[in-house]
């Protein structure tokens, strides 16, 4: 081995040692600064991808468009009916809330963000959004859509942030089941077989006997997620040796997300 190679190997070892000595905070800062450097490329790449996708989706046949139009008309009628129903429910809820002197429903400060990249690696379910510290975003802020919970921010640089999806095994949150006193911890699965990942609601009581379709909300315990955010719907329930476990379908279609909101606080 030549002298140059030995020197190169020593430098490599020293740099490697330097990186291996990073603690969580330094790693977070390092990651954020690299993301900041790559931000223009990521936003640019996202724009190009959107253009390609829009060209591809624009090339639809007339039949498809007609079919789509008919389906949309039906959906529109359904939504109008649902909307009317919801107005009635809203009125009733307001009346009951007032009657029971319930605390006024929390209203959050939301920052709209666009997804610029997703799933950067095999083992973590993440998305990258085009908002960062400059917009008031910090680490561990909940990310939602109008349908429910999406995840929480992890790495935040000046102009972009990484969001850990609720379907990731590491994104754990306390949740409660609608219509019962059951509380548990929701976490994602390490691997997903299909397009739609499932969530696990663990540590339920063995007598929980949850029914498919029951809604699961964040309970507010833990500090990151405020209470009342819809997490998902119960798909199945099983009793294990020590506890009960429910499988949930996420409230939000995580594989087709385009825009999200970051909850920065209460209004």
């Amino acid at each position: 081995m030549s002298r140059t190679s030995i020197i190169a190997l020593l430098i490599f070892g020293a740099v490697l040692g330097y990186f291996l000595s990073f603690g969580p905070e330094t790693t977070q800062k390092f990651k954020a600064s690299v993301y900041q450097l790559l931000a223009p490329f990521l936003t640019g790449g996202s724009g190009i991808k959107k253009q390609i996708t829009s060209v591809r989706t624009g090339l639809r046949s007339l039949d498809q468009l007609e079919h789509e139009s008919a389906a949309l008309q039906v959906e529109n009628r359904e939504l109008r009916a649902t909307n009317q129903g919801l107005r009635d429910v809203e009125h009733e809820v307001n009346r009951l809330r007032h009657a029971l002197n319930y605390r006024e429903r929390s209203v959050f400060k939301l920052i709209a963000a666009e997804i610029i990249a997703r799933d950067s690696s095999t083992w973590w379910r993440t998305i990258t959004i085009n908002r960062g510290r400059r917009d008031g975003i910090e680490t561990d802020m909940p990310v939602v859509t109008d349908l429910g919970l999406v995840g929480k921010t992890t790495t935040v640089s000046d102009s972009i942030s990484v969001v850990l999806l609720v379907s990731d095994e590491n994104c754990r949150l306390a949740a409660s089941v609608e219509g019962s006193r059951e509380q548990g911890i929701v976490s994602g699965e390490r691997t997903t077989t299909g397009l739609t990942p499932l969530l696990n609601l663990n540590f339920l009581s063995k007598q929980a006997d949850l029914k498919p379709g029951q809604k699961v909300y964040t309970s507010g315990v833990g500090g990151v997620f405020p209470s009342g955010l819809l997490v998902g719907l119960v798909k199945s329930y099983r009793v294990r040796e020590l506890d009960g476990q429910a499988q949930l379908t996420p409230a939000v279609d995580l594989s087709h997300l385009e825009d999200v909101f970051v909850v920065t606080g209460r209004r």
Binding site: V15, T27, K31, G45, S120, W123
Partner: protein, 180 residues
């Protein structure tokens, strides 16, 4: 040197492109990895010090884009990808004479195997942190498929890089030896 800079640029472009290539749902959401193929080509084409520099650069990028800090804990410490790339590229570099004689097939196969090894190593590291070692069919596919894809694209990538090497008048024998 121009070729080395070109490789650095291509690694950056490929790393960003990987973020926009969706996972393959019909293959258990397996990902497509292009960067390892470029790095392993560099390991064969570049002299030892530059090979280490390329591995370092690619490792830093991979660490920065994949490592997650969740709840104040790092699952895969920064530097692990540098180590992985360094070791695997070093092995590839050892097979350089074969490559210089025009035997690419071994390197194409090895590029695939090493790509899967990187994904496997990441999985073992997160398993070590999270506990409960699970090895089901989905995980095997998610580890194996990136390797198979890398193996399939390696000949095309190698050919393109070889062409770029010629265009930039890269000698392929910078250590003073001419392989025949």
């Amino acid at each position: 040197m121009i070729f080395f800079v070109l490789l650095l640029f291509l690694v950056l472009v490929a790393q960003i492109a990987e973020l926009f290539i969706p996972a393959l749902p019909w293959l258990y959401n397996a990902h497509v990895y292009i960067v390892p193929v470029i790095v392993f080509y560099g390991a064969m084409a570049l002299p030892f010090p530059l090979m280490l520099a390329l591995a370092l650069y690619a490792g830093v990028l991979l660490d920065a884009l994949t490592v997650q800090v969740i709840g104040g804990k790092v699952e895969i410490s920064a530097g692990s990808s540098i180590l992985l790339y360094g070791v695997l590229a070093g092995i590839m570099h050892g097979l350089r004479p074969l490559f210089a004689r025009g035997h690419w097939e071994v390197h194409c196969i090895l590029s695939g195997i090493f790509t899967s090894l990187i994904v496997l190593a990441q999985y073992l590291m997160i398993t070590f942190r999270r506990g409960s070692l699970v090895f089901n069919r989905e995980i095997c596919w998610q580890i194996g498929t990136p390797g198979l894809i890398a193996m399939a694209i390696a000949p095309i990538v190698f050919w393109l890089l070889q062409w770029m090497g010629r265009m930039t008048a890269y000698p392929y024998s910078p250590e003073g030896r001419q392989y025949k």
